[in-house]
């Protein structure tokens, strides 16, 4: 968007003002994430910059909160729980979601929009209501305070993301490829693994990453249905923020920001790859 030749001086000024406004909004979006990174190296147990930090005195910085994090039994236990639960629920959600997306993107699917609306609903229903419902249900069937219970709950919450991303990759998927595979003697299983899956894999992986991120960041449902044994990292952070604000949380937050940068990069690369691949197949 360059300034067109016919622009009036006022429009020229507006062009630059508009860019400045947008710059400020981007600062609002991103700035907060980068404020906490230096704060997590604070030598003092405060949530704000000390005089020493501002004058870049090395004494003002330390890694003590990171040490705190990596030596604390409670934090390490919770991070292990988070990883187990997130991976298990991601696998379940990805398998169920991908298979369902294959059915959903078929043009023969009856009541498509109703079914889609139901499959997306875990994303729309307020988590507090899902959590309350699951609390009673899982207690009744004896899954409350178990890993399996938390995993199943997180599977439900992660499913919409998988369904959305995989159906998005499947739109424009050329059905004649399936027919071509069949005509050359491939059975449906082989067709799926050799033809369909490689093409939708970028969508599947980004859906899986979304599901993983959802589970890895979920507080409310875990708060309702888990016992102390299944305490996850978000729970640990939640109680940390509510009760005793220690900068250890900032260290954890910094690690999580780096993790999200990594996930975003992966998804972005996958998206580009998927666009390239779909560029080859005639849509």
């Amino acid at each position: 968007m360059a300034v067109p030749a016919y622009a009036t001086p006022f429009e020229r000024a507006w062009y630059y003002i508009f860019r400045i406004i947008c710059g400020l909004i981007f600062c609002f979006l991103i700035g907060p994430l980068f404020v906490i990174i230096p704060l997590s190296f604070n030598a003092e147990p405060y949530f704000s910059f000390t005089q020493k930090m501002l004058s870049l005195d090395p004494e003002g910085f330390s890694l003590r909160w990171y040490q705190d994090f990596f030596t604390s039994q409670a934090w390490l236990h919770s991070i292990k729980n988070s990883i187990i639960i997130a991976i298990a629920s991601t696998i379940l959600a990805t398998i169920l979601g991908t298979i369902a997306a294959l059915g959903l993107s078929s043009r023969f699917m009856p009541y498509r929009s109703v079914v889609m609306a139901i499959l997306i609903s875990p994303m729309i229903v307020p988590v507090i209501i899902s959590g309350a419902g699951m609390f009673f249900f899982f207690s009744d069937i004896g899954l409350a305070q178990t890993y399996l219970g938390v995993i199943l709950a997180h599977t439900a919450l992660g499913i919409p993301f998988v369904v959305i991303t995989v159906t998005a990759t499947l739109t424009g998927f050329d059905q004649s490829l399936v027919r071509a595979a069949a005509s050359m003697g491939a059975n449906p299983t082989i067709t799926f693994f050799k033809v369909i899956l490689p093409l939708v894999l970028p969508g599947v992986i980004s859906g899986a990453l979304f599901a993983f991120a959802t589970s890895f960041d979920e507080v409310v449902v875990v708060l309702f249905i888990s016992g102390p044994e299944q305490s996850t990292m978000p729970i640990q952070m939640w109680s940390g923020i509510r009760e005793s604000i220690s900068p250890t949380i900032l260290a954890v937050a910094t690690i999580l920001v780096l993790l999200s940068v990594a996930m975003l990069m992966t998804v972005e690369l996958l998206r580009r790859r998927s666009e390239r691949m779909r560029g080859i197949s005639p849509a």
């Binding site: 979006l29 298979i99 499959l119 419902g133 993301f161 309702f224 998804v267």
Partner: protein, 434 residues
């Protein structure tokens, strides 16, 4: 697909006199129509079977639990199950004066039974919601009559044990709650109650909590949605008008917060906005405010609004961007070439075309905002609370699950209504995540 069409039959020139000919047949000799119907059915079945496992899983582990939780909002079987003989005997009472001796005797029997089974607590706290003081009335009476066997009059004995048993209002509460279902949770959620003679009245001024809070939640969600629109529109416009390469770089800046943990984003706002936080320190250092008069920007409405606007902003930018991307720049150029000023062209030509995107983004942000729990709970303090915070309170602290379910079902009703509008407007299959 298993339909094969012999070439001669597919020829359209045959079509006009096909009525006279034998019906079209597929390769296996079946009429083509039947064969096609079968093939279509097979395809349909395959699609349904693929979706079925997930659908079943969600129905069992998600939809059913929520609906069964919501039934608690009208369920009231404590009197029926714990005081069964009383519940039966009181049906004969017309509500005039005090019930007769049989009802008192039945109650005494149930109380003794309950005392032995140690389950009076549930019915006591249930009736306490309806008539305060009933908890001690029931537990106290039960304790006092344990050793009383067949007195002359159970009525006198019970009234002697607690004077509340001489109050017809108590008996009408018991009769009302022995029906097995109740409206009182919904009434409580709407700041209403039954008065002494059983008619529905508003709560006294000092005890009205929920309606105001619901209105406040709605109002704050509208404000957050509006702020998201205000901040999201220019960014989406910029992204849509930049060349692909720089747009996708800037897009990363929008998506990074989207990928970052909610708790992390909330924590950063605490670090920035608290009274010893970054923003206040900058303002003090710049001399804008005194050290003594630091601004209170967190643990109140401001905190909730700022943090939630930040968190929900990507949900506004993404749909706006995808709509703006599809608007051809030649419309604007055409408007300009016909003499419209930049502003008029934007207002009359560009903006109307972005309205669907605004609608999609606004409804999505609003739906997510009214159901938000974590951020208001962490940074909202007293004044920045949402209705969801009361659902959590009644689920976990007061253990008044019926009331929690009643508030939850009101909230869910609103969310579902908005979701249906969203579906009509955008279609949930058009939901995009970056």
């Amino acid at each position: 697909m298993s339909v094969s069409m012999p070439g001669s039959h597919a020829n359209p020139s045959d079509h006009s006199d096909s009525g006279a000919q034998a019906p079209l047949v597929a390769a296996d000799g079946r009429p083509l129509k039947v064969s096609l119907r079968r093939a279509l059915f097979k395809n349909k079945l395959r699609a349904v079977l693929l979706v079925a496992p997930l659908m079943l899983f969600l129905l069992v582990a998600f939809i059913f639990p929520i609906f069964s939780m919501l039934t608690r909002s009208v369920e009231s079987n404590e009197v029926r199950t714990i005081l069964p003989t009383t519940a039966l005997a009181i049906q004969a009472w017309e509500g005039e004066g005090l019930p007769d001796e049989t009802v008192y005797a039945a109650l005494a029997h149930d109380l003794k039974e309950g005392q032995r089974n140690r389950n009076l607590g549930r019915v006591a706290s249930r009736l306490n919601y309806e008539y305060s003081g009933m908890r001690s009335t029931i537990t106290g009476t039960a304790r006092r009559i344990t050793n009383v066997e067949a007195p002359e009059s159970w009525r006198d004995t019970l009234i002697d044990a607690h004077r509340n048993w001489a109050d017809p209002a108590v008996w009408s509460v018991i009769k009302r709650e022995s029906r097995g279902y109740t409206l009182s949770y919904y009434l409580a959620a709407l700041d209403m109650r039954y008065d002494a003679d059983g008619s529905i009245v508003r709560q006294p001024e000092s005890r009205r909590v929920y309606v105001d809070l619901m209105i406040k939640t709605l109002w704050m969600s509208i404000l957050i949605t509006f702020l998201c629109f205000l901040l999201g529109y220019p960014v989406a416009f910029l992204l849509a008008s930049l060349p692909m390469r720089s747009a996708s770089l800037l897009m990363m800046l929008v998506l990074l917060p989207f990928w970052t943990s909610l708790l992390v984003r909330t924590t950063t706002w605490i670090a920035i906005l608290q009274s010893q936080g970054v923003l206040n320190n900058i303002l003090v250092a710049l001399g804008v405010i005194d050290d003594q008069s630091r601004l209170q920007m967190i643990y109140n409405e401001t905190g909730t609004i700022v943090a939630m606007t930040h968190i929900l902003l990507p949900f506004m930018i993404l749909p706006l961007y995808s709509v703006m991307k599809s608007i051809s720049p030649s419309y604007m150029r055409a408007a300009r070439s016909m003499g419209a000023t930049g502003f008029t062209a934007f207002r009359r030509v560009y903006f109307p075309q972005t309205v669907p995107g605004i609608g999609a983004g606004a409804i999505l942000v609003f739906i997510l905002a009214i159901g938000y729990y974590i951020t208001p709970a962490l940074v909202g303090g007293e004044s920045g609370r949402f209705i969801t915070n009361f659902i959590a309170y009644h689920m976990q602290v007061s253990l008044n699950w019926g009331l929690a379910a009643a508030i939850a079902s009101l909230l869910l009703g609103l969310v579902i209504a908005l979701y249906l509008i969203y579906n009509k407007l955008v279609g949930s299959d058009n939901l995009k995540l970056g």
